[in-house]
Symmetry: none
Subunit: 130 residues, 4 copies
């Protein structure tokens, strides 16, 4: 199953309302399970950089079937730095991306939000999926 356009539009509408409440101008991207774009919306006067960041967060959530920050391991002295978000396909291990699941908890897509702090973006993403 793949997320449909009407569903994606609903998620973005809820996300926009949540961003408005926080006084933020955000960008939203919804991808299907193949990490291909279904819907995208950039609020007026959002940072241009947020466009790529939103897509990268959505892509990360789809590709790991997890929140975009879940794979970001804390730094540990004496341990190698484990990071892989620099790879070409544009992962981003910061809050604001969430997998989208159907009623039986199967992946149908992912949403990415960028416009505030990672914590604010994650809050907006949760509001979009609530």
């Amino acid at each position: 199953m793949q997320i449909g356009l009407d569903h994606a539009d609903q998620l973005i509408a809820r996300g926009r309302a949540a961003a408005d409440e926080l006084g933020l101008r955000a960008v939203f991207a919804v991808l299907d399970t193949g990490a291909n774009m279904v819907a995208f919306a950039r609020m007026d006067r959002a940072w241009l950089a947020s466009s790529e960041l939103a897509v990268a967060k959505a892509r990360t959530s789809v590709k790991f079937q997890a929140p975009s920050e879940a794979l970001n391991a804390p730094l540990q002295l004496g341990q190698p730095v484990a990071h892989f978000d620099h790879l070409n396909d544009g992962l981003l291990l910061m809050g604001g991306g969430l997998p989208i699941l159907d009623d039986e908890d199967r992946l149908i897509g992912g949403i990415g939000v960028s416009g505030g702090t990672p914590e604010q973006d994650a809050e907006i993403a949760r509001a979009a999926l609530s």
Copy 2:
């Protein structure tokens, strides 16, 4: 002046209605005058290829401030093929892209449609802007 997100959403809504009437599943992209994405929508079961084609048509319309097919010279024997749409930033000289103008005919963005023939896509783009 730049096209706003609400305006872009209205254009896409009208375009979707026109595609539905033609029985087509299309992809829509709206870019601002900087050729950066404002809104995007892929109708369910549209060709995946249409995503990039729609963006390329919108980009072409913004960058030339003209319909996307306007720069595509007819093939003439004894003449070189004049094409430049293979450049890295992804122009596409086929119907389906239109510049978006304000009431005083100033460029505020561009729309690209892909899902049918170039003629159908151009018809849908005109319907979106009507």
Copy 3:
């Protein structure tokens, strides 16, 4: 529905047998409906170039839900040249790519073959799916 790895391996095995019969060294790529790679095989001493060509043909078949050569319009004098296979995501409008359908004719993926002429590649792709 997405094509599974075992199914993809079977298609490639049949394709390799067909290439062997023709005395060709081919490359095979199988993608899912999101145009993401499921399986890949490069026969010994195949052209290195065939790797990218096989992937591009498979991608084209998935993205247009059609044989990779289907969208390649014949040149017509007095008409613009209609081409779009130069876009960044690597389409290739030459024979050798086929969509993979399930028993109800729904897309589950695509296969791309490169190693001989486009006609030979298309023959091998048909043999793989037969």
Copy 4:
């Protein structure tokens, strides 16, 4: 000498068996000494992200003729972070990549595995080469 396709398929088959035993869904990539892909397999429902990670690990092993984690220096306070895996060609300094050697310990290719923790991926890669 370069690894052949039959050899690559055997390595992947052994790796798949090892992943099955661990209850993991992994992606496998085998590259030749030119860091070009020979074979690739994505197990059903593996993370999509694992595809690029597996290729990057195999590439790292080929390019350094060493396990993919060998060049990853532990983090030390007062020392600069020594990392270079963000370069465009996609290195990844995490466990799961191994060079493939012939009977005389000469490099013939590299294998990359992704699907679990770096330690699990390294275990699966060792099983594939055992």
